[in-house]
């Protein structure tokens, strides 16, 4: 199947805890309002939007950390929209996620080696120590780092551990949720270049969530722009940057400060 993901009319509502009445359930707010798109195998898709656009929610729906309230999500032909945890477990190793905050995405009480090995153990892989070493090697960290704790690493290194954990399972698909937003430029460049290389070498399909269009440009072939829970643009990246159709996309582009004092910006 050419498309790894096929999403049809996806709706997702979450309970609004701030408006919870004394008795009874909290009212639901609809975050995703009917999204339809597909992710071709082997491609990198960018999902862009401001805060409140629903991009993180969409990402979590794709890896089934959240259950959609309507519509359909097909992963490699299988309908995963309403599968139970038991039904999802065998599929879980095929779609993985890398998180935004390198501080809270690694358990501070586990060593790096344990963090990477955990999912391997859960899915009963063999030769775990070798796979851990290989994963560290893929992300450019020395094998000795397996003995370290997360607080002994810099932000960029922690993020690379998160990537190592995701690729160790040899997944088909990886969701990267704002993984460079908290990093400075040099760490950001390193991580993005690493992702580029891994996509190429391991044949991964990647969904890259960001609020910053400038990092999308090099990495993603296709870009989806979300605004208030709806898709406003879904086009090949080069076209999007050359000729943005939607006003919101133009706003996002204008908001990027290029490192050039001559740019008329403020």
């Amino acid at each position: 199947m050419a498309d790894l993901y096929q999403v049809q009319d996806l709706h997702l509502s979450l309970a609004d805890m701030t408006a919870r009445p004394l008795m009874g359930a909290a009212p639901r707010i609809e975050i995703l309002k009917g999204l339809s798109f597909s992710i071709p195998r082997g491609e990198v898709v960018g999902i862009v939007g401001g805060s409140g656009s629903g991009k993180s929610t969409l990402g979590r729906a794709l890896v089934r950390l959240l259950q959609p309230s309507g519509g359909q999500v097909l992963f490699d032909g299988t309908d995963i929209t309403h599968l139970t945890e038991a039904g999802l477990r065998p599929l879980r190793r095929r779609f993985q996620m890398i998180f935004q905050d390198p501080m809270s995405s690694l358990n501070p009480r586990h060593r790096v080696g344990t963090i990477i090995a955990e999912p391997l153990r859960l899915h009963r892989f063999d030769a775990i120590a070798d796979r851990v070493a290989r994963a560290l090697d893929h992300v450019g960290l020395p094998a000795g780092f397996a003995a370290r704790f997360p607080h002994e690493l810099s932000g960029g290194q922690r993020q690379r551990v998160g990537i190592a954990r995701a690729i160790a399972l040899e997944p088909d698909f990886i969701l990267a949720d704002e993984i460079v937003s908290g990093l400075d430029v040099s760490s950001q460049a390193q991580v993005l270049n690493l992702l580029e290389r891994l996509v190429r070498d391991l044949g991964l399909t990647l969904a890259f969530i960001s609020h910053d269009l400038s990092v999308i440009r090099r990495l993603c072939q296709q870009t989806i722009v979300l605004h208030h829970g709806r898709i406003v643009e879904n086009r090949p990246t080069a076209e999007l940057f050359a000729d943005p159709q939607d006003a919101y996309t133009r706003d996002l582009l204008d908001a990027i400060p290029l490192p050039d004092p001559a740019q008329r910006w403020l």
């Binding site: 430029v185 040099s186 460049a189 390193q190 999308i216 440009r217 996002l252 490192p259 004092p261 403020l266």
Partner: protein
């Protein structure tokens, strides 16, 4: 005559490694000076040293901080706090944690004016209302009666900016004020800060790791690596041709969507090694030139 003149400021963790290595820089009145570098380079630490809010685990080991003609480090603690309180302010990084969730917005802006600077409550409230209007908040009275959790991140940052300008400070330290914000909100906030800085004639020490932002807001900048200033120059000169290989590497790492082939280059190992050698040479006692 610079309003702020930092000379050879050295700071370290108590019984630990140095965090700032003989940092020197000058900020003229009403000028915006950028402090750039990776995380851990010490850029925030400089701002904190000027404002006298270094963490207790950190100590100053040498240097001078001349603010408006006085060396802050040679003053007794109380006098220093008064001087800083009267002339400086901070725009912090995280609008979520910078406001007290238990107090309404109004008092959080006016308390400082009334309790420390001796304004009347009426004057302070009027000032707060004016400032909130200046940062383009539509309904200042309602906002002043609200609690922080009832407002969005962008709104909170505007309040913090208004709060910083409340006592008409001569110097503001802006510590990564837009890092936690969305890219569209960032543009609005930067516009706001730039406008207010120009209107009130305030000097600004702007800490950031984003060179794009620097090119829009600052007139001069200092590039830091591991507590050492590796370049200190005007923004125009810097972006035309950065003087130091490390600065050039930072520029090459910054994404440029207009030219995807350029930008996003990781800093080469050779450049890192060279700048580390500079730091080592400094520590060994070599003169920093």
């Amino acid at each position: 005559m610079s309003f702020l003149s930092i000379r050879n400021l050295s700071v370290r963790l108590r019984k630990g490694p140095p965090l700032l290595r003989a940092v020197s820089l000058e900020v003229a009145a009403a000028q915006v000076h950028g402090l750039v570098g990776e995380s851990g380079a010490g850029k925030s630490m400089i701002g904190k040293a000027v404002l006298g809010i270094l963490p207790p685990s950190v100590e100053v080991t040498g240097g001078e901080i001349w603010l408006d003609g006085v060396d802050l480090l040679r003053l007794p603690a109380r006098v220093r706090r008064q001087k800083i309180g009267a002339t400086c302010a901070l725009i912090p990084q995280d609008p979520l944690t910078a406001l007290n969730p238990s107090h309404r917005i109004g008092p959080q802006i006016t308390d400082r004016l009334v309790d420390i600077l001796g304004w009347t409550r009426a004057d302070a409230d009027a000032r707060a209302r004016d400032l909130l209007a200046e940062v383009q908040i539509a309904d200042p009275d309602r906002v002043m009666r609200s609690y922080p959790h009832e407002l969005s991140g962008g709104m909170r940052q505007r309040i913090l900016i208004a709060s910083a300008f409340a006592a008409e400070p001569k110097l503001i330290v802006a510590d990564e004020p837009t890092t936690a914000l969305d890219v569209t909100v960032q543009k609005q906030i930067l516009k706001l800060i730039g406008g207010m800085q120009a209107r009130h004639g305030t000097a600004l020490l702007f800490v950031t790791h984003d060179l794009g932002v620097v090119s829009k807001v600052c007139q001069r900048l200092s590039v830091l690596y591991s507590g050492l200033v590796v370049e200190d120059t005007s923004v125009a000169d810097f972006f035309a041709a950065p003087g130091h290989p490390y600065s050039a590497a930072l520029l090459a790492a910054t994404p440029k969507y207009t030219d995807p082939a350029a930008g996003l280059q990781p800093v080469p190992d050779a450049v890192i090694a060279a700048v580390r050698a500079e730091v080592a040479a400094f520590d060994a006692g070599g003169a920093h030139g």
